[in-house]
Amino acid sequence: MSVTVKISDGPLPASAEPWSFPGAGAVLCFDGIVRPSEDGRPIVGLDYEAYEPMATRMLTQIAQELFERHALLAIRVEHSRGHVGNGEVSYRLRIASKHRKEGIAALDEFTDRLKKDVPIWKTARAPLSGEGSGAAGREGSGVRGQGSELGDRRE
């Protein structure tokens, strides 16, 4: 069983480095990319906060559960924390399996579980005054102060 979990600062590399696993017939890569709007409003990006080490532990636990349910060869998951701008990659999941169907099912399940059980939160960052229309001066809905890492990271 090969499981790699990595939570790192800022966007993931735009292009995934080569990755496979001996004997794999199917290698899937899913990139989750920050879109330019959230709930219909323009944003410049998302700020991610992760509760560590729980987030890494949960990602690892989910990967292990999927190994048991599907016949997988390897899982590698990466997630950003901090700011990720529009068009940048915040989440990359890669799964190697012997066959396609089990890899696709695992990819979908893993991501559903991530969105339900992994303590990671995103906050939309709206354009600064002049950067966009209709949202001038608004700057997302994040929590300020009280030692917020995200608050500290805002420009």
Binding site: G32, Y48, E49, A50, Y51, P53, M54, A55, R57, H79, S90, Y91, T111, L114, K115, K116, D117, V118, P119, I120, W121, K122, S141, G142, V143, Q146, G147, S148
Partner: protein
């Protein structure tokens, strides 16, 4: 017993705090939840959908707490 609870996301926003100190009589997560609702009314409507994590693992509401536990209130998450 006095415990400290970490808050995130919508709960941190509602409370205006990232960490809250609470005095509880009965040392269970259920008692802690009731005390959080009493102490921070803005949190009350969110608590139904929240889980507690103790020492980085989700626990049930009947979980007994000890002073050294790291406690976090986990509401709706939004990774991906």
């Amino acid at each position: 017993m006095n415990v400290s609870v970490k808050l995130f996301g919508a709960e941190a926003k509602a409370a205006g705090l990232r960490e809250v100190s609470v005095e509880i009589g009965e040392t269970t997560c259920l008692a802690l939840r009731d005390e959080l609702a009493r102490k921070i009314p803005a949190l009350a409507p969110l608590l139904e959908k929240c889980r507690f994590a103790v020492n980085h693992e989700f626990v049930e509401l009947d979980r007994t707490l000890v002073a050294s536990d790291e406690i976090a209130l986990i509401g709706m998450v939004s990774g991906g």
